[in-house]
């Protein structure tokens, strides 16, 4: 058992640090430091910087332009990226649809879609959940009916994150409703510009527009946009879900966040708000620190088993549950530090162009909205209740 980095890995870490020092787009970095919401273009600029470095396809196979990094390298990259406050890589193209395409797609589809995904030339979004298919994802009702060389798609997808920016959407659609509901689901790629596709925003309680409903009103989709075989979509989506657990705990991000929380406490002390002398708060902070260390090592164990060639098992559900709880506990700490200044709701303070004096300390402006928004992390991607079912059934055999 050994978790020390080798000399090669240390050299790699230097390389990553150099990248963030010199090639992390300055405008994006500045916004990240001030907590200002990023625009679509900011995300593209940042992801293209990664692409130019050859680092966009973190998990991709080398043959399709991936990094071919080891588990340790991915861990190092994630840690450095979080410390540098880089934006999250928007997962829908690079981390979600691409693996399905390069694993199950035809050669034609690989050539057609992968290069633009890698270069972030095309913005993807996810069409899984429906108003009545949330935790019970297999009951998707969006219909795709074969008509010559096309499918006619009708139905509604919901909670589509950043769908307002998207050029393409990958969907689970029902092509057959005769058998078990897990059968008859297909994986279909749809151009958002096709007639009959419309997007309506859903505003969340933090006042932002992040998620959407996507409606399909008799949308004609070329049949060659179907990935793999008709009726196998559920299998593809599930394989993807168990394979894409790395990073789901967002440990690196939480570690960086904890460090910045400690800075907030020091700054608060300088203003005369002495949280260090609040034993209740400090006990909570330190307990969270312990929990985060445990979570980090759980993630490392999963990573290490992946690097030795084993697929991560259902125990990776631990990462989703504990990782989301960690994010939410850290939000609560920030809310606590913000104190009375958690109350003002002044979104201008974290919107592009704000150069006034903040009301209270700047970090406090986003404390409550972030706490509100992050209630989603124990809901999306399979609620934590569903994750516990998976642990009970698949890990513990109950």
């Amino acid at each position: 058992m050994n978790v020390d980095f080798t000399n090669e890995e240390l050299a790699f870490r230097e390389e990553v640090r150099e990248f963030f020092k010199h090639k992390f787009p300055a405008a994006v970095k500045d916004k990240q430091e001030k907590g200002i919401y990023l625009t679509k273009n900011d995300h593209i600029v940042w992801q293209k910087a990664l692409y130019d470095q050859g680092w966009a396809g973190i998990n991709w196979p080398v043959e399709h332009g991936g990094t071919g990094w080891s588990a340790t390298q991915k861990y190092i990259f994630a840690t450095e990226a979080a410390e540098a406050k880089s934006p999250r890589i928007i997962p829908f193209g690079l981390a979600m649809v691409a693996p399905v395409i390069y694993t199950y797609g035809s050669e034609e589809q690989k050539a057609r879609f992968l290069p633009d995904i890698l270069a972030t030339n095309v913005w993807w979004c996810q069409g899984y959940s429906e108003p009545n298919a949330g935790s019970d994802l297999a009951s998707v009702k969006t219909k795709a009916v074969r008509d010559g060389d096309s499918y006619i798609v009708s139905g509604t997808k919901t909670w589509t994150t950043l769908g307002q920016h998207a050029d393409w959407i990958f969907c689970l659609v029902r092509t057959d409703d005769s058998g078990r509901k897990q059968q008859g689901i297909s994986f279909l790629l749809i151009d958002m510009k096709t007639p009959g596709v419309s997007v309506t925003p859903i505003i969340t309680i933090d006042g932002t527009h992040e998620v959407n409903e996507v409606h399909f009103d008799d949308v004609r989709v070329p049949a060659n946009n179907l990935i793999g075989e008709e009726g196998k979509g559920w299998t593809y989506a599930k394989v993807l879900l168990t394979h894409e657990r790395t990073g789901i705990a967002r440990v690196a991000e939480s570690k960086a966040r904890l460090n910045s929380i400690k800075k907030m406490i020091d700054e608060a002390a300088a203003r005369g708000e002495d949280l260090n002398s609040n034993a209740v708060f400090m006990a909570r902070l330190l307990e969270i620190e312990v929990e985060l260390k445990a979570l980090e090592y759980t993630e490392l164990r999963v990573l290490s088993s992946v690097s030795t060639g084993k697929a991560p098992g259902p125990e990776s559900s631990i990462l989703k549950i504990k990782g989301s709880e960690m994010i939410q506990m850290l939000d609560e700490l920030v809310l606590e530090i913000a104190g009375i200044y958690a109350l003002p709701f002044v979104p201008e303070q974290y919107t592009e162009g704000f150069d006034g004096e903040s009301i209270g300390p700047l970090f406090a402006a986003k404390a409550a909205p972030t706490y509100y928004n992050d209630r989603k992390v124990s809901i999306y991607g399979g609620t934590n209740e569903i994750q516990k079912n998976i642990i009970a059934k698949q890990v513990l055999g109950l």
């Binding site: 108003p131 009708s154 509604t156 919901t158 419309s198 309506t200 409903e213 409606h215 009103d217």
Partner: protein, 249 residues
């Protein structure tokens, strides 16, 4: 002019009614009770008549258990001047109530009696009409507008497909419909004043009325459970569902 208003204590209209496990009736244990909404409209109308200077006194009467005093106090907090409770723990049918009210009318000699058109617990819609007969007074039921004139009252009634306006000679009986008025909220000073207003307690025996019922409730059943609804995300989706799933449009 003297106005008599009858009010009934019923389950609060916001409470989801639960049937007792033996199906003998509705479970009233720890359930919030309130004034029947139509009676509230009747009280409001009487109080407005008083505020307009048309009525000099508003008397509120209720028939039921001791706790029905709460509803009388509420009516007095809304502006009624005094109260009468005819106290009985017997379950009463409409005719017994009408007989008791007729006795109260005999004693009080009001010019106008206002009642709710029906109570939301039993939905009988009978008491006002029966009282009209027993007291020998003309009646205007389902009133949506009332105008009191010299020795008469004009009542606009809501009837199927339209409105009908009647003129009744006083004394008269009016039963209220939903659109007659919007009852006020009881103000705190009036709530406190209501405590000091007189409330007479009588019994059916005082009026020589036998309230023993010839009716027996055999079975009370809940309405069939509504199957689970779904939340639709948008108008578009609703239209889609109405078209394709419910097939109603």
């Amino acid at each position: 002019m003297k106005v008599l208003v009858a009010v009934k204590r019923v389950i609060d209209y916001n409470i989801k009614v639960r049937v007792k496990s033996d199906q003998s009736g509705v479970d009233l244990t720890n359930v919030k009770m309130a004034m029947n909404p139509f009676c509230e409209i009747a009280v409001e109308e009487a109080v407005r008549l008083k505020e307009k200077g048309v009525a000099d006194e508003v008397i509120v009467v209720s028939i039921g258990p001791k706790v029905a005093q709460e509803q009388i106090r509420t009516a007095m907090a809304l502006g009624a001047d005094r109260g009468i409770l005819v106290e009985t723990d017997e379950p009463l049918e409409s005719l017994a109530i009408a007989k008791l009210l007729a006795k109260v009318v005999e004693v009080e000699q009001p010019d106008l009696v206002i009642l709710g058109k029906q109570s939301i617990d039993a939905d009988n819609n009978q008491t006002g009409q029966m009282l009209g007969t027993l007291a020998g007074m003309s009646q205007g039921t389902f009133a949506s507008e009332i105008n009191v004139g010299e020795n008469c009252v004009e009542v606009t009634r809501e009837i199927d497909g339209g409105l009908q306006t009647l003129s009744l000679n006083l004394p008269a009986i009016i039963t209220t419909d939903l659109r007659l008025n919007e009852p006020r909220y009881a103000s705190l000073p009036n709530i406190m004043k209501a405590k000091r207003k007189p409330l007479d307690v009588k019994t059916p025996a005082d009026f020589g009325v036998n309230v023993i019922s010839g009716l027996k409730t055999l079975l009370v059943e809940s309405p069939q459970e509504r199957s689970a609804g779904v939340l639709v995300g948008s108008v578009g989706e609703l239209v889609e569902k109405l078209k394709n799933e419910a097939k109603v449009i």
